[in-house]
Symmetry: C3
Subunit: 343 residues, 3 copies
């Protein structure tokens, strides 16, 4: 049993992954199969035929039902067996667990806890997605071989950017700049404004305001229990930033990661990037996608190294630093949330 | 300790596998080495030099004796050390266990239980092997990464053919046709006759009787504890089938699988195919061999998936179906046989 | 905890392996990182950043200090953290263990035990290294997947040469020739003189004395707890051999192996070869290097097979032979040394 919050909508797959055939994926340490029903909606079942425990994801979709590859048993989206070749009566036990599913933002979201509490109202809301003047890079996926808490702490930790990502997104200045932290019941945010600094050549071109200094805001949100949202804003130095409209006058980015534990030592890392510049520019999007993949790969390697060291030593860290404030708070809030759910 | 019957002749290797050098193979979870003695007969020893435990199968055959690669100790077919370089006296402990072996039908059979009970009379008899008018495909081998009970159940289960083997030997009709089951102390058979059906294009050409309907018999034998024999017969519809001679007037096939547990989660799968049509036709045999290999590979993948699910859940199945009758009976008879031997 | 003597200088790396960046290597089952300080000397630290346990060997060297790749913490050669980005005060716990290191003979030697006992006087002395008239092949490294005791026993065992190395250095004559054994507190030596024998074609050419018989001496030293030194001498038959000078008139070889346990089932195998013939002949050295690598690879495969058999059976051997005298004595002396240190 892992350190998972069960009653929550987790990203299970990109919509584009669920086509004519089923998709098998381990989520919160349970094997799950996703497939499309006759009406096009996605269903999710425990990925084991109740007959011989063969993964249903090895099977095929037949008229919106999932057919086991071994003996042809067919299951509907509710997990009920509706056809057994060679047998007219279907035993009551011939069923497999089904999980609530919602498809939104091009993501298939699954609820692994108590089905009666699976309210789509509780789905995470993605700012600006689908709005005019904004562009989305989606479909991003990596499998990170580390417990998801390591990934959350990494994502709440701007300080590592200067060093680990020096070849990609790192910024020598950033390392020494402290962050402020705020929290509510639902999220924690670490943030900082770097004021009156030089824009990067990229940002200067995108801003198109000539050679002026800028203010740069970075907001690292962790929405419990599994979503990271990093927001960056670049504005000409001194520009007003009191309203959402004023902030949108600058370069604005929302970088989302939807973390879904696979096992105690691996995590599905879905990422999505939303921006209000270079909208419709496919070449810019492709370059951005490649740069982000590289950056997340750098994180992946560190997370794996930490996972191994944690498994060998049974420890997480030997000394705490000031930069640990937000990551450690995020990890504690998550642990409390897991404990509350169990109680 | 596995769920194995020890006092039994198991297929250890194809005769053609034992040439000038030794062959190492794990059988019933014990390392065994096979080699040819000076008279050409095969000997089988525990595959560990008593000196330093190095596998004797890493060594060489020297004048019909097996020489350890490390220090040159030589062993005869009885497992006695007969030469130690640099030492005239051979200590009594310098021996390794030997196992009774018989070579027949191109197969090396080994007896892993009490040697004094190893009577060649108890060897499995292969129908029609070597008889005029019959042809044999042998040498078939696959390593199946699953406990051998899963493989036995698969082989006693005609119902899966329609689904799992739809691209190879599957027959949509076959899925819904019930089977009868009979048993003796030594074997169980599940069988069915499909009467007055259309022959496959292949069988029509082989029968060479024009466009007539056929009766098709399928017999799935499990000879305890480790041999599967699937017999198929295709006759013009209504032809008499009371005697062996009458049955041989049709297309007749014996498909043998000799299962030898390697470990608790893997099995040596030796297969042999005997037929009374296209005799001497090498091209037909090659095509048949390839089709059978593909079919067994499909089974292998399911068996592996079941093995993994069984290891993770500690369960074998959650619901029983009518088609499980013969497989489950076979598994129970085997379990009883193991229990009887231990008692 | 392994069967290791801690208070001893072990080979950690070749000097040539420690360049501009750090080198991570597991030694005596502890992760260690080696790097060069500003003055060019090598330092060794426990290979875990105390902050998040990330291997420091993933980092970089910055002005002779080791910088963690994750958050840029910098450590000096004593393991003290000397810089934390974004934080002026360095917590006392922000340090990692350092190990004494000495560089000599092109080898980096490390002391994994009590630092205050790490006296360079106790370093192993390599005969003839760097002397005129002698040539050295160094840089040899293999990772042997076996406990180091198996490797020590192999190196103290001339008898296996005839069989295991028949295609490389083996000599059919050698197998039957007994060895004498002597021991002190610090080492054990097994040796034999093969007198009045034919030289190999190679040795005849090297000796350059025409077609005369030779005396051949073989000395297998094990210097506790981790160094093997095999000395061979080839002299015209009957030549005096009472002094080092007389022995040096012949062909003389010192073959060193520095064994450093990596884990309980793997060993770093550093080898060095010192000779007084074909000095300066690069082509001869290259051929010699390749032949030695092949020979040690043959040993590696046997050691791996023994390791697996030992792990499966919990045994080391079932019968003792006369040839085991020196190897078994070496293993016992080592076990006693480990026990003495713990007491």
């Amino acid at each position: 049993m892992g350190n998972y919050v069960l009653n929550h909508w987790y990203a299970a797959a990109w919509s584009s992954e669920i086509g004519a055939g089923p998709l098998g994926r381990r989520l919160l340490d349970e094997p799950v199969v996703l497939f499309r029903q006759a009406d096009g909606s996605v269903a999710a079942l425990a990925d084991r035929c109740p007959h011989r425990l063969v993964p249903l994801s090895m099977g095929t979709c037949v008229e919106g039902r999932l057919q086991c590859t071994y003996h042809g048993l067919q299951f509907d989206g509710g997990g009920r067996c509706v056809h057994i070749p060679g047998q007219a009566t279907i035993p009551p036990k011939a069923s497999t667990r089904s999980f609530p599913v919602v498809e939104r933002y091009g993501v298939v979201w699954i609820w692994m806890g108590e089905a009666e509490r699976a309210d789509p109202v509780r789905l995470f809301s993605i700012s600006k997605h689908g709005q005019a003047g904004w562009d989305v890079i989606d479909g991003g996926y990596q499998r990170h071989p580390s417990n998801y808490v390591n990934i959350i702490e990494n994502l709440m930790d701007p300080a590592h950017t200067t060093f680990l990502h020096s070849g990609t997104i790192g910024n020598p200045l950033a390392g020494e700049q402290p962050v402020a932290t705020e929290r509510t019941d639902d999220y924690i945010v670490a943030y900082r404004w770097l004021e009156n600094t030089s824009p990067s050549p990229h940002d200067r071109r995108r801003l198109n305001v000539g050679d002026v200094p800028v203010d740069r805001g970075q907001f690292f949100y962790f929405h419990l229990p599994s979503t990271s949202r990093v927001e960056t804003i670049v504005l000409p130095a001194g520009a007003p930033r009191d309203t959402d409209e004023q902030l949108c006058a600058g370069l604005r980015t929302y970088s989302y990661k939807f973390l879904t534990p696979e096992t105690a030592s691996s995590t599905h890392f879905f990422w999505m990037h939303v921006r209000n510049y270079q909208v419709g520019d496919d070449q810019a999007a492709a370059m951005l996608r490649a740069a982000l993949e590289r950056t997340y790969q750098e994180d992946l390697e560190i997370e794996l190294a930490m996972q191994r060291a944690q498994e060998e030593t049974g420890l997480r860290q030997l000394v705490s630093l000031r930069i640990d404030h937000a990551p450690v708070m995020a990890a504690r809030m998550l642990a409390q949330m897991v404990e509350d759910e169990r109680a």
